[in-house]
Each structure stands twice: as C-alpha cells, then as structure tokens.
C-alpha cells in the first residue's frame, strides 16, 4: 500500500526512474525500511496497467523513465484526503492484553508494569530526539516525534486506567 502511494507521491514531484524511486521511497519511509527493487517494478507495472502512471521512455543510461498520469494525481489526492481509521486495537499490546484477559492471565499486573516501563523509556528517548530536532530547526521531524509522543502518552494513560479499574 505505502509503496503504491509512495511512488505516486514521488512521481507527482517529477518524473523518475525505478532505482531513484526506491532510494527516495526508503528515505520517505525511514531508514530502517528496505524495499526490494522487484517490489518497485511490479508496483510500477500495476500502476501503468491501471493508467495511473505512464512510461515516457529511457534516459541516456537506458533507464526507464516514469511519469504520473492525471488519473494518478486524482488517485493520490483521494488517498491523501482519506482519514486513517484508528488501528490501535490491532496494535500488538492491545491484542496481547485482550488475550491475557481472555485466559484470566495471572500476571496481568506484571505485564502492564513492564509495558509501562518500556513506554516511559521510549518517551525519554523520543523527547531527547525531539529536543535535538528543535535545536537543528528540523520542524517536520520535530512534529512527527511530537505525534509519536502523544500516542505513547495515550497508551500510558490507558494502562493507568486499566490499573485504576483493577484495584477499584
């Protein structure tokens, strides 16, 4: 999913060849994400089939150059405007906790406690990173990290709520 819309995003900026798209897409998704070249080319083939992207020819190094079609721009705009549903119930800890409740797991308190500590550690690390982004004027990254921190805070508050209700 992200490969398709990532390619549309990049091609909406300027036409490009497959290898460059791979590199730019990896950077857009974060350094830990590696995309294999095959995935890029099969996605490009599908985008051409659906008339969202068009092959314009080859550059001087015989690399195929792709460009976005008007239909592709409409598809990209539609995707960007589509709100993202809340997915946290599918999040691994929520699922794990549901399983624990289902079997009336003896160590729920320990499980919650350990999760809390991990969240707090994540908060400390991300806060340090956020401060560095602020000092380096990296506004977009600063805002992304602020968003991640708000999610972590919500997770922590949720665990507090479970604890409060357990001991009621």
């Amino acid at each position: 999913m992200s490969v398709k819309y990532g390619i549309l995003t990049l091609l909406s900026i300027h036409q490009n060849h497959g290898y460059d798209l791979k590199i730019e897409l990896e950077s857009l998704l974060g350094a830990n994400v590696k995309i294999n070249a095959g995935q890029i080319y099969t996605t490009l083939d599908r985008l051409i089939r659906d008339e969202l992207v068009r092959l314009v020819g080859e550059d001087d190094q015989e690399r195929k150059i792709y460009t976005i079609e008007p239909k592709g721009v409409i598809e990209l705009t539609k995707w960007l405007l589509e709100p993202v549903p809340y997915v946290s119930t599918r999040d691994s800890f929520h699922f794990k906790w549901s399983c624990a409740r289902k079997i009336k797991f003896d160590h729920e308190e320990k499980m919650l406690n350990q999760q809390k500590l991990v969240i707090m550690q994540d908060v400390m690390e991300l806060t340090k990173l956020k401060t560095e982004c602020l000092l380096n004027n990296e506004e977009d990254k600063y805002l992304l990290i602020s968003g991640a921190l708000l999610h972590l805070e919500a997770d922590l508050n949720w665990i507090h709520q479970i604890e409060n209700r357990r001991y009621k």
Binding site: L117, I119, V123, E125, L126
Partner: protein, 239 residues
C-alpha cells in the same frame, strides 16, 4: 553528587505516625536530570523538602556535594540552601510587589550580596529566559509561562549546583510547558546543574535522564534512557 542513605520521614497524625518515606537510598550524579513520579502520597514532595533543607529527616543521611545536610542546624541549612539550591514551584511564588528584575535579584539580597555587582548575571538571565523587555514589569502582568521563567531565573541567580522543581509545569499548557522544560534542559547542559523534578506527567518526565517511580515512600523503579534504543529512533526519524 547527591547521596541519600536510608532516609526515613515520619509525620504525626493524631496518635499514630505516618511513614511518608521509608528507607530511601539514592545516588544522583552531578549534572544529572532526574524526574520523580508516583501517585499522591508516595513521598515525592517530601523528598524535595528534605533535599532543600526545608525539613529534617526522621532518620538517615542527605549528603549534597560532601555537605552533610542532616547534621546542619536550621540556620546552617538556610545558608546552604541560599548558596547551593535553586527552587522552582508549581505556583511560581513570585513576590507581587516587586518587578521581574527585583524578583530575580531577591536571593542575592537575602544572601547579603549587592545586586549591583551581579547586574550582569541578572541581565544575562533575563536574556536567557527571553524576558529582557519585561525587567520592570510586575508579575501579575505576565502569563503563567512567563512567570515560571522568572521563577527559573530567580532559582538560578546564585548559580546553584542543584535545582529542585516541584511540578514546575503543573499550571502550564503543553506548549508553554515544553518551552519551560527546554529552558531547564538548556541550563542543565550549560551549567551542569543537577535537576531533580517532581512531576505527575510523563511528557515532562521525558526530558529527564532518569525517571524514579516512587510508591508507598520507596523507590519502586528506576528507568534510564538506553543509548541503543536512542540509536534505533535516530535511524527511524533522521532518515
């Protein structure tokens, strides 16, 4: 360095004794930023009061940079506090009849120093906290965030080695709280000041190097930032 050994604090309530702190053992390094969290009544603020020398322990030792606080008289503790400890509170505690500049200079007078000799320190602090244009303003004309910045400047005017903050962002909105914490972090790095901050919210605690979770008068957990995780996040966001 701050060393706390076997610290106990009891308060009388009617006929019984309430143990607010039980056997607290702690070591806080110079320049460390520590956040203390925990439910109400866990002993967090009592610990700050003892560290500030505003109260005395029932038992145990508090050693701040080789000064044995628990052995000092009240007068000695007051002098020690003025010279070594900066205090920041949730409700700022500024003197309403004094201007911003006079509030910041106040600890100097209390210590018998002339603020004229230290004018450059005050000017520098006003600049650091972004209030150079407000030196003659009275606190009631300032926003909550600005008042807290005055309070931080006042806490730092004597260049204390330790800054104790009790819910410093408790009355501030999120953006103002972030500015305040960035300011505290800046001073922590710039002057290698040790900061001990009591807070109820993880957003503020995230600025610390270590979080201590208090429960029933004891340190229940100690959480430090792990460098390997930090590297993982760097890779994720810095791509």
């Amino acid at each position: 360095m701050i060393q706390i050994n076997n610290l106990k604090k009891e308060f009388k309530q009617g006929k019984s004794n309430i143990q607010v702190l039980k056997n607290v053992d702690l070591e806080i390094q110079e320049g460390e930023f520590v956040a203390i969290m925990g439910p109400s009544g866990a002993g967090k603020s009592t610990l700050l009061q003892l560290l500030a020398g505003l109260d005395v322990p029932t038992e145990g030792e508090i050693i701040i940079n080789n000064n044995y606080l628990h052995e000092m008289s009240e007068r000695e503790r007051t002098i020690f506090r003025r010279r070594n400890i900066g205090l920041v509170f949730q409700n700022y505690q500024l003197l309403p009849n004094l201007t911003v500049e006079e509030n910041i200079a106040f600890p100097l007078h209390a210590d018998g120093k002339s603020s004229k000799d230290k004018m450059y320190v005050i000017t520098e602090l006003l600049e650091s906290v972004g209030l150079s244009d407000f030196e003659n303003t009275k606190p009631n004309l300032l926003s909550g965030g600005q008042q807290q910045r005055v309070a931080i400047a006042r806490a730092l005017v004597n260049n204390p080695s330790v800054l104790l903050a009790d819910e410093p962002t408790g009355n501030l909105d999120r953006n103002t709280a972030e500015d305040t914490l960035n300011l505290m972090t800046k001073f922590n790095h710039q002057y290698n000041q040790t900061i001990i901050m009591v807070t109820h919210d993880i957003f503020s605690a995230g600025f610390a190097d270590r979080i201590l979770l208090f429960k029933d008068g004891e340190v229940d957990q100690s959480i430090s930032r792990k460098e390997e995780n930090y590297a993982k996040y760097m890779a994720n966001f810095m791509a």
